[in-house]
């Protein structure tokens, strides 16, 4: 006991006299990059590619730590509660993070202001698809049918209050269609559900299924302002006139509130360089994840705009349940 107390005292004394973390000596040791989803998921894949490439310029190892569970809530809590010294960074998943803070039942201990968005990496647009032999050839045919027979056509998401769930609500709002919403646990279940003929249409993301589009899967629309480079044959919602149906899974690196600005700048520089590198593009193309580098004011604006958009649809979803 005595020894332990002495060590503790010594340790706290050491922290007390340690100089504040300044940018000129940051980073001095390995940095943790918290991913709020399990290893192997698409956030994790992107994070590991990023960590591997950014390490070189960063000068210190970047360790990806998976803290999956509860739709990201466990990992986001961990990032929000970490010491703001630049040694814990984390992936911010939008709009998954927003909807957690907006649903009072989730009792989240963080808000979106608990994080400083530093640099965005991926914007994986939403993707609406049906089975290859489905009667619906276009999004308009689908929404017309869902308008004529409200609640008869089933549409599945990859989880409650996920970006896909919000996308369904956006389509319903824009077209007057009414779907029967089915929540699955992820992409694999969606695939079985729709290809097995149990559900009519999937609201998904480009990255999860782009390789299957063709005979197996018919793409109806990508919920973005431009077409996806992975699916050039599929129209985007903007060109279909659905300008309010813009949804994606977007993720980038952030730090807990209170992290010094000069440290954030060091992170931004190293990570942005990695995101813009040709190796990054090559690796991300292989997995179907579209890069969307954003920093500074642009990212900050995206971050707050998305919160406003998510708020509207989350409240709507909460009213429906």
């Amino acid at each position: 006991m005595f020894i332990r107390r002495r060590t503790l005292l010594a340790a706290s004394a050491a922290t007390a006299i340690a100089p504040p973390a300044l940018a000129q000596n940051y980073p001095r040791r390995a940095v943790q990059l918290v991913v709020a989803f399990p290893a192997g998921g698409s956030t994790d894949v992107g994070a590991r590619i990023l960590a591997g490439l950014a390490e070189k310029d960063f000068g210190q190892p970047i360790t990806v730590v998976n803290k999956g569970g509860a739709g990201g809530q466990i990992g986001f809590t961990e990032i929000a509660r970490a010491r703001p010294d630049g040694y814990t960074l984390g992936f911010l998943n939008l709009p998954g993070m927003n909807t957690i803070t907006l649903d009072p039942e989730r009792k989240a201990v963080f808000t979106i202001d608990s994080f400083i968005p530093i640099v965005n990496q991926v914007l994986d647009p939403g993707f609406i698809w049906v089975k290859g032999d489905s009667p619906y050839k276009t999004l308009a045919e689908l929404t017309d049918a869902a308008k004529k027979n409200p609640g008869k056509i089933s549409a599945c998401t990859t989880g409650i209050l996920s970006d896909d769930h919000l996308a369904i609500l956006m389509v319903q709002e824009a077209t007057g269609a009414e779907f029967r919403i089915v929540h699955f646990d992820g992409g694999a279940q969606q695939l079985t559900g729709v290809l097995g003929g149990h559900v009519d249409v999937a609201f998904d993301n480009v990255g999860s299924v782009f390789k299957r589009v063709g005979t197996e899967i018919r793409g109806l629309a990508v919920t973005d302002v431009v077409r996806s480079k992975f699916l050039p044959q599929v129209p985007c919602t903007k060109e279909l006139g659905l300008t309010t149906v813009i949804s994606s899974s977007t993720r980038g690196v952030g730090a807990p509130k209170g992290t010094p600005a000069d440290i954030c700048k060091v992170v931004e520089t190293a990570f942005l360089k990695a995101i813009n590198s040709p190796e990054m593009k090559e690796k991300m193309d292989a997995v179907g994840l579209a890069l969307k580098p954003m920093v500074g004011a642009e990212y900050a604006k995206y971050y707050t705009d998305l919160q406003a958009q998510a708020k509207k649809y989350t409240e709507w979803a909460l009213k429906m349940r």
Partner: protein, 499 residues
Amino acid sequence: MESLSHLLSGFAAALSWYYLAYALAGCVLGTLIGVLPGLGPAAGTAILIPLTFNLDATGAIIMLSAIYYGAMYGGTITSVLINVPGEAASVVTCIDGHAMARQGRAGSALGIAAIGSFVGGVLATVALVVVAMPLATLALKFGPAEFFALMVAGLCLVVGLAGKNIVAALLMTVIGLLFAMIGLDPVRGAPRFTFGMEELFDGIGFVPVVMGLFGVAELLLAAEKRQARMIEAELKNWLPTGQEVRDCVGPIGRGTVVGFVLGLIPGVGAIVPTFMAYVIEKRVSKTPERFGKGAIEGVASAETANNAYANAAMVPLLALGIPSSPTIAVLMGAFIINGITPGPFLFQEQPALVWTVIASFFVGNALLLILNLPLVGLWAKLLKIPFSYMCVGVLIFCVIGAYGLKQSLFDVWVMLGFGIIGYLLRKLDFPIAPAILALILGPMMEKSLRTTLEISGGSFAIFLDRPVALALLAIPVIVIAFLLFKPRSLDKLRESDID
């Protein structure tokens, strides 16, 4: 034939030095787990998951599967030599295996067990190659309604097969389902029974619970027992005689069929096929009175069925994504941790991985035959390590393993807590397996039921419209009816055969 060409390329990969080394490491570790009393395959596999974090997915799965069936082999050694089953499925092996050891025929018993396990394992894997892909295609027809029905049938079978303890098994199943409710509601997303603890939002970690109930609890039980004396057997004659092998051809063949068929049904568990194969041999035999007194056919049939079952249980996992036993559930966890979702699309999306893993089952079974036949004496020596040392070592490993899963101390407490619960339940003679299976199937069951109702717009009539789901739901009804009207004769049959 497509399967065959895939399998051949799988072999090419599985036989590379890299994967061969992992298969070997897994077989050695698995045998070790099987030999150490108190550590079954479920807890053992769970503890060793963190070891595979730094491997590629294929290597990790190869190693963990090797640990799984390695433990199935290893359990035999303690059954024969000290009359303590190294894992539950070896209980039946004790009956004749230990009797043989007392007659100085331990070598023959271990030899035939290894040969039977090899044949059963290899033949079951051949059948897996034939069955798995067509089943995966068929699995698309399996919607949430059918999954729900299949899981209900599985849980009912667990209860129905619990023998005399049906009420206790039912109780344990319900408790398992209750624990499965902890965490975020799968449809509303609201926390249930979490008491505001975020660690509980994702439910109680299944792997720490298994480690606690099976690992820690077993250690506690073993610690209070006086250690059984080991039979110092002449292990030089580890090959059974020609006559013994001829006697065992039939039992090994029948054991394979029984093990494989029962392995396809979720919820049956490893103990039923071994027991059933044993009973069949006793019925078929011209000299049933030898059973229980050192009949080599008893050892051969039970061990063969055990391993055929272990390999067949991979079929529902790979083709449907449904774990049929606690150990398989742990393996499924390992798949998911490594970013692989077992299920109908696995064969399409990761053919290289699946077929390499399947080829490694053959390789692993061959490695185990080598490890077990000539080296059995080495394993037997392990039993001489004082239990007090071994117990502490294993417990340390459990704690590290539980922490390593998510770098969370909470999981360590869960493991220790469930260790104590498991100890008490075992003392009170409550079966553990139904609770574990309910805990793993519970969330999947709830999710598929609620998805079914989302699809049908809230109408339960959907179960009547779907013939497969309806047929599956009929199984529990039949089981319950059978239990209500036939319990006495069933119990009589069990007692007369096991004594």
